[in-house]
């Protein structure tokens, strides 16, 4: 009897997905553009940084609003935490860090503060590691870098040079914009409250094309509950 009850409870609460998959559909006012990633904006494999103007790119591509607001990759956990998807970084290319769990390529240095528009322009014009499709990261992309086992800065110090401050994300809530502090916290602030912040640009390096639906239901809940049990695509037993 107890076991049966627990099974019901299990289904009832087996709800948290480790990952939400982008469906490439219009989503919360950010219409996804399937062609947004990696289309025509690269300077060419192995090319010099940018388009030959001191590392500057045209800045006309890769609208950050086209990026999915959801994680389209497994969420890394700090390697020392013993949790699934331990973080691994490739720093073999100059100026960039490749996250080997998320497939994202990050600008390694973020030395300057900008207003939001300036930060977006900075990324759009960035030419780095032969790529021009840099953009401001989304909230969840910035969250993927947080190492909560560290104190400020909560970033892998071998991969990212220490920099304390707040980082812009491209994600907004009404008049607020989400920012991730080097302390690891996620906050919504207006530009009036905090006019400038750091910008760490990102681009999709290895694409994860995951199928719909965003959630996978794995069981039936009690009759009064509806079909609700959920398992993440990337739960510890369900990785790629």
């Amino acid at each position: 009897m107890v076991t049966a009850a627990l099974q019901h409870e299990c289904f009832r609460y087996a709800l948290l997905s480790l990952l939400i998959v982008s469906c490439g559909e219009a989503n919360n006012g950010h219409p996804a553009s399937p062609s947004a990633a990696n289309t025509g904006t690269d300077a060419g494999a192995g090319g010099d940084a940018g388009a030959g103007h001191g590392g500057q790119c045209s800045g006309s591509q890769t609208d950050a609003a086209d990026a999915s607001p959801w994680a389209t990759w497994p969420m890394p956990n700090p390697s020392s935490s013993g949790l699934p998807n331990p973080a691994r970084y490739d720093t073999s290319q100059s100026g960039v860090v490749i996250d080997q769990v998320t497939g994202l390529m990050w600008q390694r240095e973020s030395p300057a503060e900008y207003g939001f528009a300036g930060a977006a322009t900075h990324c759009a014009e960035l030419g780095l590691a032969g790529h021009c499709d840099w953009r401001l990261p989304t909230r969840i992309e910035l969250v993927s870098l947080v190492d909560f086992t560290l104190s400020n800065p909560t970033l892998d110090s071998a991969a990212f040079p220490a920099a304390s401050g707040e980082y812009w994300s491209a994600s907004a809530l009404d008049k607020y914009r989400w920012r991730i502090g080097s302390d690891g916290a996620t906050r919504a602030l207006t530009e009036t409250m905090a006019p400038t912040a750091l910008a760490r640009c990102v681009r999709e390096h290895v694409s994860h094309s995951l199928p719909e639906p965003r959630y996978q239901f794995t069981g039936q809940a009690p009759d009064d509950w509806g079909p609700i049990a959920v398992r993440g695509w990337f739960g510890s037993d369900a990785r790629e």
């Binding site: 299990c10 609460y13 949790l83 809530l173 602030l189 959630y215 739960g235």
Partner: protein, 98 residues
């Protein structure tokens, strides 16, 4: 949705078996929709019992390295992840993950 102390939350997840546990602060942030207000941060069709409150706080398994005695919480309003004093007997919500 029921609220739990931290120990109750850990037990609540563990009794499901199959490796269910309290999520890390990073894992829990993957189900939060930052474009929604606090009372609808989680997809209501998938997670229908989300409490309609502007001050919803969830336990995570992540202690705060920067502030001993504090833990990371995920909650609504204008912060999604925040390290605050973690009175382990205080009652908050939990979503289990595996």
């Amino acid at each position: 949705m029921t609220s739990y102390s931290f120990a109750e939350a850990e037990t609540h997840c563990a009794v499901f078996g199959g490796g269910f546990r309290v999520p890390s602060m990073k894992e829990l942030q993957t189900v939060m929709d930052e474009t929604k207000s606090a009372s609808s941060l989680i997809d209501a069709e998938v997670f229908p019992d989300f409490p309609a409150s502007a001050n919803v706080t969830f336990w995570t398994s992540s202690p705060s390295a920067g502030a001993p005695g504090h833990a990371w919480f995920v909650r609504g309003a204008n912060t999604l992840a925040v390290a605050v004093d973690a009175d382990p007997s205080a009652k908050f919500y939990v979503r289990c993950v595996r």
